[in-house]
């Protein structure tokens, strides 16, 4: 580990400005400690020996640029992660949405889609899936392909099934997927309600109005300035009385928007837009 190439902060800045010029991807407002660690990890994995080589490769090899984005953005996610969060969605949020003729939900930074399918299962169990649309967006087109397939590792299903039960699920979780060797293929009826699109929270704008936006453990990779931008974007994309759900260690408390929002009881990380 010690003998690997270590980039300086200045060298990282050069790479980041190359990415903006060359590809229009702006990582400059990502949390710098975390971003540096991810880039350093890639350098170790790929046994990069010099800064010049690394820079040249990102600039001139589109496939390597794709790898860079995939490896530097974090794609760790789970179904029904934080069971109490899903229990609150099930018991307090979804009943509020039930009377709407069309329910629109945005999963911003959806990664490989485990949370999108979790949400689809909740809506199905509330008998609302047929009139719901789940917009799943991510900066990284490769992960969206995985959402489209609806296939997750079989090895995770025991954990997900436990999470599901803890979230108040009453069915046999295994009825929602078909086991195919080492993957679990989720029912196609979920997929028909999911709309996929690439969307960059750094540079893209609002594209619809939603009753519920979920963006969990995505903004932890942003600095405060970029978090503010993303929260403004969510605010512009949320109906009055709509809900915004964040990760279990994330908060709206640093945002000026917080005065117009009301956090649900028990410090659950769901805020309702009051005005």
């Amino acid at each position: 580990m010690n003998d690997d190439l270590q980039l300086t902060d200045g060298q990282i800045e050069i790479i980041l400005s190359d990415l903006i010029e060359q590809y229009g991807y702006d990582f400059t407002n990502y949390s710098s400690a975390s971003l540096k660690r991810r880039i350093q990890r890639l350098i170790t994995m790929d046994k990069v020996v010099s800064f010049a080589e690394f820079r040249h490769r990102i600039q001139h090899d589109a496939a390597y640029f794709k790898r860079f984005v995939e490896q530097v953005t974090v794609n760790v996610t789970e179904m029904f992660r934080d069971a109490h969060f899903y229990r609150t969605l099930r018991e307090e949020v979804i009943p509020e949405l039930a009377t709407r003729p069309l329910i629109r939900i945005w999963h911003a930074g959806c990664s490989t889609g485990e949370e999108v399918y979790s949400m689809a299962i909740l809506l199905h169990e509330a008998n609302l899936l047929h009139k719901s649309l789940l917009y799943a967006t991510d900066i990284n087109p490769t992960v969206l392909e995985k959402v489209r397939l609806g296939m997750f590792p079989m090895s995770q299903m025991k954990q997900y099934s436990e999470n599901y039960i803890q979230s108040g699920g009453r069915n046999d979780f295994s009825k929602y997927y078909i086991a195919q060797y080492d993957t679990a293929k989720f029912d196609d009826s979920f997929k028909t309600r999911i709309i996929l699109a690439t969307h960059n929270l750094v540079s893209d704008t609002s594209f619809n109005e939603f009753q519920l936006i979920l963006c969990r453990n995505v903004m932890i990779y942003f600095d405060k300035e970029l978090q503010d931008r993303a929260l403004e974007l969510f605010d512009n994309s949320l109906e009055k009385l709509g809900f915004l759900g964040l990760g279990s260690k994330e908060t709206m408390k640093f945002s000026s928007l917080v005065s117009r929002y009301k956090q649900l009881p028990n410090k659950e990380k769901i805020w309702r837009k009051m005005s």
């Binding site: 949390s31 975390s34 660690r37 760790v76 990779y221 405060k224 260690k249």
Partner: protein, 189 residues
């Protein structure tokens, strides 16, 4: 931004809680430091750990939320199932990426990011534990000008982790049951 106080990082795993509980009463208001705890543990033990530690010292105990500021006379707890990173603007960032040394939070990750951001203002203390997490982090702290302390493996419930550090690194202080004053003067100088 170089802080005008030292940042003391304490990493531990199996068997280290009792050592921390004996250390906390020594944290009095006159100490100009911030303390950050990185413990390997299960996710559902978060609030338990906070409650156990809350009133053991004169410092404010807080489990970290994303972008919380790093302030003196606080004890910060790394939340379960996230890596904890320190940013140069004296805030925390969380990171959910892959486990390191089978651990999230990983002691190495926090130690390395603190060393990178705050160099000689950092003191790393490695306690009892059963894997090698923390040793690379201590080395980074040392390389960036900080100081490193290791619990005497003979007094550790699970000596593997501190023993790894003692074998592989030259350390500034071996923490025993009897030299807590040396530790306190090291972390405040």
């Amino acid at each position: 931004m170089q802080p005008d106080f030292n940042i003391v990082l304490i990493g531990g795993s199996a068997g280290s809680l009792s050592r921390v509980l004996r250390l906390l009463p020594h944290l009095t208001k006159k100490l100009n430091i911030a303390v950050i705890l990185i413990f390997h543990r299960k996710e559902d033990e978060d609030s338990v750990l906070h409650d156990v530690l809350a009133h053991k010292s004169e410092f404010t105990v807080k489990e970290v939320e994303d972008k919380d500021p790093i302030e003196r006379r606080h004890v910060y707890i790394a939340p379960a199932d996230y890596h904890l990173l320190l940013e140069k603007d004296l805030t925390f960032s969380l990171d959910m990426s892959e486990k390191i040394n089978y651990s999230r939070p990983s002691i190495d990750v926090t130690f390395e990011s603190a060393a990178d951001a705050f160099g000689e203002s950092v003191i790393g203390l490695l306690l009892s534990g059963a894997n090698a997490d923390g040793v690379d982090g201590l080395r980074r702290i040392r390389e960036e000008g900080g100081r490193i302390v290791v619990q005497d493996p003979r007094s550790a419930e699970v000596p593997f982790m501190p023993q790894q550090a003692v074998d592989r690194l030259s350390i500034d202080l071996l923490l025993t049951e009897f030299n807590i004053d040396d530790f306190l003067s090291l972390v405040t100088s």
